[in-house]
């Protein structure tokens, strides 16, 4: 980096650009945070005064707490199972050579590009034809469809970085194929599996449309929020939003090092 140049020319316009981008993104979120502490019932300026009433209300609303519990159950399930399938799929894709490998890897990623509404509908019809009732289980299965490809991509990127010579060295030292997978590849893939779990947990936790179509009585948090809003505006939602937002921030903060790789290093 040319420090001299920067000091003279570059810094200020660059920071302004970033600040503008940041403002566009964060103003609405700031709004929610502010109103979550506002004692007024209606979401209009001027503010009435600082209050934690909506947080209290949230904690005392058992329906919200049930929804939160449902969301955590489904998201944990999706996180763990997607990561397991993702690892198996990624390992197969990276290590095996066969025809149509490119086509198959395209097919495995495509679900990420299919509109959620369509997936949700087709799944609803599919489970209906199977005679299943709609529950957290169907939500879990539905969300797997977009999260397995995501986990697969994350883990595949890591597997591609592991030098082939490591596995070869393990074979050379007497480890069979499964043994070297367990002793060498698996431990080295763990960081990317943690990232995969963080990501898929978050995506599942945030997901609306599939959950909306595939559950009946067991609501997840986004559905519960939506239901409350449909019946009339409820500022409790601001409190939940603020909490979820800061949780997301924490997850991203820990996850980004893995996801983005190293930032640019001087020298």
């Amino acid at each position: 980096m040319v420090e001299g140049l920067k000091e003279r020319l570059g810094r200020i316009p660059l920071i302004l650009t970033l600040a503008l981008t940041g403002a566009v993104i964060y103003l609405p979120i700031l709004f929610v945070v502010i109103f979550s502490f506002n004692s007024g019932r209606f979401q209009v300026f001027p503010l009435k005064g600082f209050s934690l009433v909506w947080y209290q209300k949230m904690l005392s609303d058992t329906a919200f707490m049930d929804a939160l519990r449902n969301s955590v159950i489904v998201s944990l399930g999706v996180g763990v199972v997607s990561t397991i399938f993702g690892f198996l799929g990624a390992y197969s894709l990276v290590k095996a050579e066969f025809r149509f490998k490119d086509l198959l890897s395209t097919l495995l990623i495509t679900p990420l590009a299919v509109p959620g509404v369509l997936l949700a509908i087709s799944l609803r019809v599919y489970f209906y034809s199977l005679g299943w009732s709609f529950s957290l289980l169907t939500v879990f299965l539905g969300q797997l469809i977009t999260n397995v490809p995501l986990a697969l991509m994350v883990i595949r990127a890591r597997l591609l970085q592991i030098p082939l010579s490591l596995e070869e060295a393990a074979w050379d030292l007497g480890a069979g194929r499964l043994r070297s997978l367990a002793e060498v590849i698996l431990p080295m893939t763990i960081p990317s599996m943690i990232v995969s779990m963080l990501l898929t947990f978050t995506f599942s936790f945030d997901e609306f449309i599939i959950a909306y179509f595939l559950t009946q009585f067991e609501l997840t948090l986004p559905i519960k929020i939506w239901a409350n809003l449909i019946t009339g505006y409820d500022p409790t939602v601001n409190a939940i939003g603020t909490i979820v937002f800061f949780l997301s921030l924490v997850i991203v903060f820990f996850g980004q090092r893995f996801i983005l790789g190293k930032p640019y290093q001087k020298g």
Binding site: P163, S165, A169, W171, D172, L173, G174
Partner: protein, 367 residues
């Protein structure tokens, strides 16, 4: 092939796809306890050959024997060979002692016993204090030593080394060369060593196999390879070399009268199975830069020539000199002292007929 050979390759060929032949029907017989080097430019098939011996690459046709036993279709974990990889392939998530003990763990040796053995190995390489570290906390030289003992812990009969010093800088490399050679002699293990560095090959090996285009060009001791190369490829790949192409005029015993387009006729010596040359045949000769004398020293030589001094480069212990014999036709000379002439002046050259070595032309010579 003798019964004292520990590894034998019989017509071993490796093809990739339909048309690429990486290794072309080579035959090798490695003697028990020797330090054998496979030397050649990148893409010559040396690494592929090594990997076939390790079992990390399938053999397209031919046979590999280790201790007279056919191992051609044995997987790597069932062969009594060990491999040292160019990047060392230390397991980054394991401590150094766990790395070294890995082979014993695969043989179900109890934890206490295998760690004791690993510590002995660390004593052997004089690094007992690094047992608990991770590979990324080691220097290049330490990694190299750890990779060596990790390969040795299973007491293999043959150690395969794939450019094990390639990642080190020049000074450390020289140190490790001496150390590797010492270890090999102490342990009496057969080393099959792959490198593209001719200096390394010359200083370490008992015998060198010079490979080019998937074939063996010459297999001999370092001294013979350097002083009596058989082909233009070997002559120019091992050390610096002035190559001259011309015609064999006449033949007297071991000497050939060589007709050079610029220098005229002079005698040159045949070695190493190239004696079958006939008068009239197109041949090449090799002149080593350090065998050419210049200035006053040239006066006593059997062959003499005159050229113009083009360039003098001081390299510390030697001086590199470029002499132009005819426009565009240059000869490189290495001397102990600066020439008496200045750049642009005339200078005499000379050499003896045993230093002008007759070579056969071959495809590799055009490199």
């Amino acid at each position: 092939m003798g019964s004292n050979s520990i590894v034998e390759l019989q017509d071993v060929t490796k093809r990739y796809g339909e048309s690429v032949v990486a290794v072309d029907a080579i035959n090798l017989s490695v003697r028990r306890g020797e330090f054998l080097t496979l030397l050649g430019p990148s893409g010559c098939g040396k690494t592929t050959t090594l990997r076939m011996i390790a079992g990390l690459e399938t053999v397209s046709s031919g046979k590999i024997l280790i201790n007279q036993e056919d191992v051609t279709y044995l997987p790597p974990y069932s062969r009594n060979t060990s491999m040292m990889f160019q990047d060392y392939a230390l397991f980054p998530h394991m401590s150094i002692e766990d790395n070294i003990a890995f082979g014993l763990k695969m043989r179900r040796v109890p934890r206490d016993e295998r760690l004791k053995k690993a510590r002995e190995m660390l004593e052997f390489i004089q690094l007992p204090h690094i047992a608990g570290r991770k590979p990324n906390q080691l220097s290049g030289g330490q990694r190299q030593r750890v990779a060596l003992v990790r390969s040795l812990i299973l007491q293999p009969e043959v150690l395969l080394l794939d450019e094990p010093l390639g990642a080190l800088d020049a000074e450390l490399r020289r140190q490790m060369q001496v150390e590797l050679k010492r270890n090999q002699q102490q342990l009496g293990i057969t080393f099959i060593y792959v490198t593209h560095d001719q200096e390394e090959a010359l200083s370490l090996s008992d015998r060198i196999v010079v490979m080019n285009g998937g074939r063996v060009e010459q297999m001999d001791t370092p001294k013979m390879i350097y002083e009596q190369p058989r082909t233009t490829f070997v002559a120019s790949f091992i050390g610096r070399c002035n190559l001259r192409k011309g015609i064999a005029e006449a033949k007297e015993g071991r000497l050939v009268v060589f007709l050079d387009a610029v220098l005229g006729k002079f005698p040159a010596a045949c070695f190493n199975g190239v004696e079958a040359i006939q008068p009239g045949q197109r041949i090449a000769i090799a002149l080593r830069p350090e065998k050419i004398r210049i200035g006053r020293e040239a006066e006593n030589c059997q062959t003499k020539a005159v050229g113009i001094l083009k360039y003098t480069g001081f390299l510390g212990s030697i001086v590199r000199i470029v002499v132009e014999l005819a426009p565009g036709d240059e000869v490189v000379v290495e001397s102990q002292a600066l020439p008496e002439a200045q750049v642009g002046e005339k200078i005499s050259l000379g050499w003896n007929c045993d230093d002008a070595i007759v070579l056969t032309e071959n495809s590799g010579g055009d490199k």
